[in-house]
Symmetry: C2
Subunit: 329 residues, 2 copies
């Protein structure tokens, strides 16, 4: 090609991910299994030999999954936490995430805080952001988390007479959510239980040795234990008085309304899992070694659905299910 160049046109970098790319130096994780990370059409990644890949994708929409006045830090933290929680419930080791961020405008202060929250949790679990997409539109965040697993925990393998356990306390996220709308002076300290749930990654990893099934409590125990029952083709009986409730929860909710939020609100991101009865002592050891309350709340049955019993052994019916996104037309 013959030519006489006069004007040189320099192209500015305009990838969709540009906006985040400029802030990415706040990410301190640089994993050796990431051959190509952010900045190309694809991320190129190596899976360790002998492991399968576990992937989970969750989307948070402003006004649906978090209040409009939630802090950017909390939104970033939670968007990752809910995905790591899915890895935890499969017993997978977290490795990488991709992020699809839709924002109404390019607010770099908001983005800084958002990434600070996200990277704070990512660092804790050695998770690297490897790519994604940034687009204009109403605020929503999709994260896909990737992890490694040798033998995944599933929802579908619970057996009749297995014991049912939950980690932590149920209903505290409901309490945290109330802090956005009600008596903030009393509940302000509980906000983080909704905003910044702790994904039970360490517990999930240990459970691969002993649990027959596992799920994280995102939609409420009724709904999530219901998935285990449905997919394991079994039923469950749950003793209401065993449901672990925090002191703050007990002091806020009245007796008449005691279990509703704990069983149906969801967002606690604790693990609900089943273990053969002869392995109960292993669960107690786990609870001790992780300094995490783990409570036996009932057992798997050969009936259909979940039966709840109160302290007088009376069956209780809950009309409200867990959070449901759509009532299909």
């Amino acid at each position: 090609m013959l030519h006489s160049p006069q004007i040189v046109f320099t192209v500015k970098k305009v990838t969709e991910f540009n906006l985040i790319y400029n802030h990415i130096n706040t990410q301190s994780i640089d994993r050796p299994d990431v051959l190509t990370g952010i900045g190309d059409d694809c991320a190129i990644l190596n899976i360790p030999e002998g492991y399968s890949l576990a992937v989970s994708m969750d989307t948070l929409v402003c006004g649906v999954h978090f209040p409009e006045n939630a802090s950017a830090y909390s939104i970033g933290y939670k968007a990752l936490a809910v995905n790591l929680s899915d890895l935890a419930s499969a017993g997978a080791i977290p490795a990488w995430i991709t992020l699809s961020l839709t924002m109404p405008d390019a607010d770099k202060f908001w983005l800084n805080d958002f990434l600070e929250g996200l990277f704070a949790l990512a660092k804790k679990h050695d998770v690297q952001l490897i790519g994604g997409d940034t687009t204009t539109g109403p605020l929503s965040i999709s994260i896909q988390a990737h992890g490694f697993v040798k033998k995944a925990l599933l929802r579908s393998n619970a057996k009749v007479d297995d014991l049912i356990f939950v980690s932590g306390y149920l209903g505290d996220a409901a309490l945290g959510f109330k802090a956005y709308n009600e008596i903030p002076t009393i509940l302000d300290g509980c906000k983080a239980r909704f905003d910044q749930p702790e994904p039970r990654v360490g517990l999930g990893l240990k459970l691969t040795r002993i649990a027959s099934s596992c799920i994280d409590i995102s939609d409420g125990l009724i709904s999530d234990l219901g998935h285990i029952c449905e997919q394991s083709k079994c039923g469950a009986e749950v003793n209401l008085s065993k449901i672990p409730l925090s002191e703050e929860y007990l002091s806020y909710f009245t007796k008449n309304d005691l279990y509703k939020q704990a069983l149906t609100f969801g967002d606690d991101y604790e693990l609900c899992f089943t273990v053969a009865a002869d392995l109960e002592s292993e669960v107690l050891k786990l609870s001790k070694s992780l300094s995490l309350p783990i409570t036996c709340i009932g057992k798997i049955t050969d009936s259909e659905g979940i039966q709840f019993f109160d302290e007088n052994n009376k069956t209780i019916l809950f009309k409200q299910k867990g959070y449901e996104h759509f009532n299909e037309s």
Copy 2:
């Protein structure tokens, strides 16, 4: 636990993915490397030995990436196509996708058409939907595509004097987009070039043997070739008269405005790649075997940025860059 059951509460399945789950039987792909697909907290997947994982995530937002009156079928098709195009530009073999679908309401007719478009393209490339998330909110679609690659094509490896090629024709997507707003009687036949781009998966796979760098043209040649230049730390000269333009494009756009759309609109999802000059004959063979026009449009230089020359060897300056989502504040 002693009890006297009277009322059994049966839990209805309420996973976030329920809505799509009910329509999933229209998916005809069932890959042996998917150990657990839709219906658990994570999908569990096997990567073939000796391969790395290539992942790409793209989001389409209604009113930003597709017009509000685009058909559900087209939206489903294109949401997958843009992601497969990213795999193509890395030279990866497509395998699985996850889908995060945010919809204002649960319109099962819309969803049927959307999945029909998505699965039509998925089937063509043996791609299985392995999970995702469905949420309420303004219409947007995030897909993450996963593929396998031995040695990925990158943006960063172009060498001075390499020849620059593009597949297909540039600017036809701009023409298709115009069909939504202008003189539909003339352009109706071109709509599909915007709505249903053909990801160049077969070409990408073959290019792993001969190309030094590759990118798909999503934001326009100026922007995308610019990425190759920036990441390969080189420049490029492009002969405008070599830019491949379709007959329909040439008959619609006036001479004064001939190149603007072809170089800046994007959405063509053709591949732009570089090849050492002594391998040019291999590219010609590829073009023939794939029945796909592939055109040499210029070469890589050791200067900075991209210089465009017209038929009189005069340097042309384009002020408009490719599509940019944000002008960061």
